[in-house]
Symmetry: C2
Subunit: 187 residues, 2 copies
DNA sequence: ACCTGAACACCGTTCAAGT
DNA sequence: ACCTGAACACCGTTCAAGT
């Protein structure tokens, strides 16, 4: 069972180095010190290995979100922090972010369910924030979808170099997320 | 020179069918009725062919944006329409959208420049809209970046099925874009 | 100038076989 | 239960050669 973890680790390394095409079962086996088709004893095929990488990433992030101290911090701050953390993760691991997007197009029900849990948590935070007066009125699911879309898009634009870090606006993904909450706060 | 267009057309077909992996130089040649390495007489390699697909898409969209009637339509409406059109294109051609994002990570200066032209047009529209009172104050580049991020992220979330079309919020990408402009209008 | 056919290296996947 | 080695089909790319 130790081999399985080693395979995922090696595959993640290769993914970060050069995207999914760089992840070769032969090279994965080579780095782990095992034959080129030993991975088939742990994963159905290459795509199952890639899905495992992303599944572990989401699990890690979900735990990080849930572990957030449930003290008297305003819900709006928890929501904003979660989105900032999501964007930070995406910018720091662009290949994982892109792969997750690619896999989501044809996602299995299980994977959709995993993401759904984190998503519902964000909607709950949004509803609480509205009660606490930190966000404008409206359907919480729709408000949360707007914030999530902005965080997702801003992260991707930063990754692809489309946020002109040297222009006048000089905004990164985190800045734009904070801008949205500032607009909401003024409303 | 007709072969070149036929190759791009066949490659685009394959891309829409199953993503970049589905685009095989051998299958492209087969569909055009030409040998499996005839593409090398028109493109340096497979990635050059994929880049050509995206370049033509962006050129087509840039023309469509520029052709917009320059009548007395408020600038804020032109800006919103451009973003709605971008999201509509992404949702309608998810494989092209994903490929464009993937290529942008390691984009050539030429490709960056092409996108830069459309981008500057959006920033100009934003500045005019601010003068006309249709948008809140602030750096136009930053405001435009926010709108663009939301449009981009909302399109991707709709494509990946993360916008819960059957939930209470029941928002698609277009709805979320309109929501942002509504918030700005109230500010 | 454009195309073909053979060839090479590489990859995902399968299968029979080993411990 | 886990791994190996050979084998197969497929792909990107190169090259010599044809018109």
């Amino acid at each position: 069972v130790d081999t399985r973890d080693a395979l995922v680790a090696a595959a993640t390394e290769l993914l970060d180095e050069g995207g999914p095409e760089r992840v070769t079962l032969r090279e994965v086996g080579r780095r782990v010190g095992v034959s080129h088709n030993a991975p088939y004893k742990h994963f159905a095929d290459k795509s199952a290995l890639l899905e495992e990488i992303i599944a572990r990433e989401f699990e890690r992030m979900a735990n990080a979100t849930v572990t957030t101290p449930q003290d008297d911090t305003p819900a709006v701050d928890l929501l904003r922090d979660a989105l900032l953390e999501y964007a930070r993760w995406a910018v720091e691991h662009p290949r994982r972010f892109e792969l997750a997007n690619g896999l989501a197009i044809n996602a299995s029900p299980g994977a959709q369910e995993r993401v759904g849990l984190t998503w519902r948590r964000l909607v709950e935070l949004t509803a609480v924030a509205q009660e606490q007066g930190g966000l404008p009125a409206g359907d919480p699911e729709r408000l949360a979808a707007m914030a999530r879309s902005l965080a997702h898009g801003a992260a991707e634009l930063q990754i692809t170099g489309h946020l002109s870090p040297h222009g006048k606006g000089r905004a990164n993904a985190a800045d734009l997320i904070n801008d949205l909450f500032a607009v909401w706060h003024r409303t």
